[in-house]
């Protein structure tokens, strides 16, 4: 029996994962700039929990620990979850979400390569449903906050939920633009009036839009490195913009502009880092387009008509369910076959 090919070009799985994490560095830097260094604590906490949970599960499942721990997939899941959570989220929230992602969403379904759902999004959805108040309670960007917390104070807040004397929670947090828009619209305000509020920036959220640009930068790096293909981000962002554009054209008083939708919430993070998870996504080119468009449509509908300010996580999980069907339906034409 032949073992050819004798050559291999591929970067290993761990190299791929490391490069994806590298692509997240600009966004993390932007986070630190906008919200303070507290995000680093969240990242460290999620990483440690993920590695410990991964090692434990591998041991319980009698799998070799070192190669799987080194593949970097658990670490990446932890980072993506940490970046989805509100900065300054309490430590136990981070730990619970990460444990759920690694233990239940990943390993109980067979570990790396076998999980039908995006682990980071499962962790996020569980937290959002279980702790909706904390999960929608975002800190204000430092430039808008009435009280600015130092790194030590942020650390204190994450681990002890305690604030320096005289500072109220309201002084450091404010509703996110998506959340604010939603509540204000129910009070029959018009979009152009709502978006004059202080938390709105030129494109999306003041401060937050810098993070969004950083995600876009990281995403382009992923494309350039051929770690992702163009299908998913383009189809997702394109469909989201088209959908928002159509509603915006119909009634600009009731519906926010497409630019706003692209630059707020998890749109950009989702486009390049979340929906591109290969394990839980489709593999055919056409399938990727369908998958991404489906997520975009659902995200928009949840944002505008649903009960939550953002909808990326739920949309991803809903479309994950459709992946086997999408793949089966979109098999490409094989060379020499007529269809």
């Amino acid at each position: 029996m032949s073992r050819s090919p004798y050559l291999s070009s591929a970067p290993s799985v761990s190299v791929i994962m490391v490069k994806v994490m590298l692509a997240l560095i600009p966004a993390i830097a932007a986070y630190v700039w906008v919200y303070g260094a507290g995000i680093l604590v969240t990242l460290a906490l999620a990483s440690t929990t993920a590695l410990a949970a991964e090692a434990l599960m591998l041991k319980l499942r009698n799998r070799p620990i070192k190669p799987f721990l080194m593949d970097g997939s658990a670490l990446l899941t932890a980072w993506l979850l940490a970046l989805s959570l509100p900065p300054l989220a309490p430590w136990w929230l981070v730990v619970v979400g990460t444990l759920f992602a690694i233990v239940i969403a990943k390993h109980l379904y067979g570990g790396l390569g076998y999980n039908p759902f995006n682990p980071a999004m499962v962790g996020y959805a569980v937290l959002l449903i279980s702790f909706p108040v904390i999960m929608t309670h975002w800190p204000a960007p430092l430039e808008l906050a009435q009280a600015k917390l130092s790194f030590a104070e942020q650390y204190q807040f994450i681990f002890g939920a305690s604030l320096p004397n005289g500072v109220q929670v309201d002084a450091i947090s404010m509703a996110t633009p998506l959340d604010y828009l939603k509540t204000q619209l129910t009070l029959h305000h018009q979009v152009q009036d709502i978006t004059t509020a202080s938390q709105f920036g030129a494109f999306g959220a003041k401060g937050g839009e810098l993070v969004v640009w950083a995600y876009l930068l990281g995403g382009l790096y992923l494309l350039q490195q051929r770690l992702i293909t163009w299908h998913l981000p383009t189809a997702f962002l394109g469909a989201l913009a088209l959908m928002a554009g159509a509603f915006y054209l119909v009634d600009a008083n009731q519906f926010a502009s497409p630019v706003f939708h692209l630059f707020t919430g998890a749109s950009m993070l989702g486009a390049f880092f979340i929906i591109t998870d290969p394990v839980s996504g489709p593999t055919t080119p056409k399938g990727k387009l369908i998958f991404a468009v489906g997520i975009a449509v659902l995200t928009y509908l949840i944002r505008v008509y649903g009960g939550y300010p953002d909808g990326v996580a739920f949309s991803v999980l809903l479309m994950n369910m459709c992946v086997p069907l999408i793949d089966a339906w979109t098999q490409p034409r094989v060379f020499g076959h007529s269809k």
Partner: protein, 576 residues
Amino acid sequence: MNALLNIVHQVKNSFGLSANNTVRGGVHPAEHKQESTTLAIGSLALSKRLVLPLRQHVGNLPKVLVTVGQHVLKGQLLAEAEGNISAAIHAPTSGVVLAIEDALIPHPSGLPDQCIVLESDGQDTWGERVAIDWRHLDQPTLLAALRNSGIVGLGGAAFPTQIKLRTNPKVQIKTLVVNAAECEPYITCDDMLMRERAADILKGVEIAQYLLGAEECLIGIEDNKPEAAEAMRQACANSAVKNLQVIVVPTQYPSGDARQLIRLLTGMEVPNDKRSTDVGVQCFNVATLLALHRYFDFGEPSLSRIVTMTGNVRTPRNYEVLFGTPVTDLIAAAGGALDQTDDYIMGGPMMGFSLPSVDVPITKAANCIIASAPQLFAPPPPAMPCIRCARCADVCPVSLQPQELYWFSKSSNLEKARDYKLFDCIECGCCTYACPSNIPLVQYYRFAKSEIIAQDRAKEAADLARERNEFRLMRIEREKQERAQKHAQKAVGAQTEAAKEVPAVSANPEADAAKKAAIAAAIERAKAQKAAAAPQNIDKVEPAVQAEIEKIDARRDAAKQAVQAQLFESDPQDNK
């Protein structure tokens, strides 16, 4: 900018819009062709002992015409083509037939096969050589002459050439495609052949074009062989043949796959269930065309070929090697293997296989021998689970979904694998090459294919046996009925004789009823017998056939176990 270009390329590729001049998918491994092209094609000293496997080609074993101890001359027919698809074997030099026995041959199975062992007398005396005046003979006569030329496809497939030249009268062959792409890394035998013998190759082209009735000839060469392309262009300019065209295609593995090259050069995609000749194209390798020229114009059968000896040896080089020459002699000619050489690969690093021993002979399919060392071909790291990244699908030249095929092959879901067009896989190895999880994908496909083929064969054999058995039972029953009827008629006849005197309607109704009952009982018995015998569908097999079936089964089981052991070893998911 880079990222943007990248995106444009990806968009094109994923909609199958890749320009006609590139293969869809494909990979670009490091070429390593420089090493073996610095020196001209060399020749080897005559080896003392030549081992000629009877099976050097696709098709039936040829029939041996010589006996042990017989002295033969160079070019003498040792074994003639047998049956429809087969190829002859000739003596590469003069000498004595030492033995006709099983010996190790260069084959991925590593199993010995029947060989003629020739001891050279050192004289290299030619037998009779008769050139064939092909310009004045018709196609059937020439094809008959070609039958014992021993020429097979020298690109590596080793399919008898005479079959490929036998055209279907219903389809006019328009284009002769000359495969000079040589897309596998390391291999340079065609490159050097074109640089040194371009004019002779074109003489072969002329013959092939005449036999096929092809109007035009397209010569496809990858752009990493500018010297060869230039030599061929020069030769074309000086040739009397019209409508010759050298087309340089981008270097991209596997552009040298016949169907891929035909698409690159003509824009036509050969349907999966058809041959290229059905769309008016036939494809030959340059070395095969040269062999045609030597055979028709000089009366020399296929006795040697150019072999690239490269990799971890002192002086990588191409040699003209007589068939049957042991690989050791070739290695020695190239200055011997360097330190750390741990394996020898026949063919290229993408589709070749490890030789079971360096004592095996060079055969017609042996285009390249690579001395392998860990620094050249690192052993693959342990396989990780598939993460469905679909890099394999991106590089698959035939647009398969290797990640799905892997899933189905691994779970032995063979029907599903067939549905996902497993049999369109050309085993080029691009998927494995691109896999970040180091999964030996091609091996899974080879395994699944052989399993499906084995199942189909077993089913066919069982069906045939069942049919035969059913027919036999039917015949037995019919004969019994006929006998019973005869008996009944006889009895009735006797009765009528007896009844002549007594003109009654029915003399003995009771006897009639008894006979009918007897017939019915006989039919019942036959039915019961048939029912009892039905499940045993291989009972009437001759002992020899039975023995063969058992041998095949045993070999298949052994191969299966070996493959499973190998696959599971390399997959930590299964290390329970």
